[in-house]
Symmetry: C2
Subunit: 351 residues, 2 copies
Amino acid sequence: MYGNAIAVTGGLLNNIHAKTTHGLMRGSERFNLVGVVDEKFAGADAGVIVNGTPNGIPVYGSIREFKEKSNEPAMYCILGVATKGGVIPDSLREIIREGISEGFNIVNGLHHFVSDIPELNTLASMMKVELLDIRKPRPKSEWQFWSGKIREVTTPRVAVLGTDCAVGKRTTAWLLAEDLRSRGKKAEMIYTGQTGWMMGARYGFIFDATINDFISGEIEHAIHTCFVEANPDVMLIEGQSSLRNPSGPCGAEFLISGEARYTILQHHAGREKFNGFPQIENSIPDLKDEIELIRIYGSETIAVALNTSGISIEEAGEWQRRYEDELGIPVILPMVEGVNRLTDVLIKIIG
Amino acid sequence: MYGNAIAVTGGLLNNIHAKTTHGLMRGSERFNLVGVVDEKFAGADAGVIVNGTPNGIPVYGSIREFKEKSNEPAMYCILGVATKGGVIPDSLREIIREGISEGFNIVNGLHHFVSDIPELNTLASMMKVELLDIRKPRPKSEWQFWSGKIREVTTPRVAVLGTDCAVGKRTTAWLLAEDLRSRGKKAEMIYTGQTGWMMGARYGFIFDATINDFISGEIEHAIHTCFVEANPDVMLIEGQSSLRNPSGPCGAEFLISGEARYTILQHHAGREKFNGFPQIENSIPDLKDEIELIRIYGSETIAVALNTSGISIEEAGEWQRRYEDELGIPVILPMVEGVNRLTDVLIKIIG
């Protein structure tokens, strides 16, 4: 545990671009979120803004306001929102400056690094705070090539892939790991994004910040290290993007290089177009077809998890029945019924 | 054209690890190869060493020997061999030092950069020569995200994918582009590796040196720029690795993000195991199955090109007939019969 943290969301707390913050709100073993800073929603409960259910995390109008009003001191200020191209716009620079000046360590998951901005770097040295640019690559000498050592790992691996990005893959993986633990199984989530790291997953790497030649070696190394150090009953590999998302097809690495013999496929019920690309017609593939693609990559799809945000419980149930009839595998609604039924499926596999 | 160049191969001239040098020997529009430096093969003709056919490029025992004996002055010294992990071992450092001292600009396609070695950097400044670390990423501000602008490109795109790495994808693409030009068609190869760049391809990027999040945007941008600036009749996209190579599955990006609706599949006749991984049983997939995978990604496999190195012409012909019967598409042997028959197929598509 690093400690208490606040997340800044720049007017986007209720937007999918704040999914890092949403992940932290669901609980983190690395940071304890004690406040959100978002001028637009100041005074509200963050849970109410995000999904209608209070969670006791207040929203403040500024970092200064947090310091004045909160009785829970925090040491970390997390940039809790994605920006276009991962750049740090002027507005965000101003907030970071305020955070450093108020004595916070800055946690940044964007492609552009706070430590590359000389003025902020100097200010951080003066204030004796840390700039944690979590996408900063490790030294080249530590980069891993795929070696085949994955073949030594006997732990079953389950990839949580999606039919699109921002569809709930990490959330399903995380809930499932927690539920497995509550039922006496040792489960580890292999993180592949910055939010997974922020939430406290111990093994993994940041997929989209890695030099492509080392992706397969990094996934192999994360799985192998987890096996050697933690030796869990099962590993859940957080997927990224989707196998056929044109803005970044991804997934074969987990199935082929990470040898995940099982897949849980996350899908947003009713979503037809890839997130962010409304101009591309008929874009999200049919589930049946996606499951066939996953099969060709050597992995069996053991269940579908449906994201049901934006639709009624009745509609969600209809999608669930329709897909179960069509696919003949369990289809679960994590946000409606929890992941318990999925845990049952996994426990059978673990044995 | 940058100018005359020598390639150093450190005892590996006849090895697949020197494939950068082999590519340059086949002709480059960027560098004119006037000599190879390889102590082990000093005095020989480089063509004889590589494929038994003289090409008039002499092999020298050292850079100094090249300078003393050659009457073709060269300005560029290309590190023409891959090393484990892309590192620069001490032996290579010594050769680079000699190259710089003799006044050569250094061209380096390895993951580790010559300019990161302070001693060599200082020496290069003193000698006023350039260190071209061609895998060095461009400034972050120039990195491209996928935007969908690929939809504006009307030029047909043909991906040259392989069933393995080091199987001849780039060579087939390059020969095909040359043959198309000789028959009056404007063809461009989109390079995705450092050798393609060294050979003179004008549009592309170095796939495996790119931060993963930008791969799809870079391929889109290269194709779009080629369309806007050169407007060829066809683009041939150089593939990397293979769709199911565990050490780095790759290819979906070209089909999905680059929207290559056609694929030429390169295969080493008779090769069963992935290059470098003899311990992994049954590893290279069946061609029929690979073509089905390519189809799921939205691309039609229009021909197979066979690498026939290491087998007799008779055997090559047998493989060719066997695959043509099985697959029902043209199967060509570029190194035996040239690519003319493949050019015919493409000219039909271009119209």
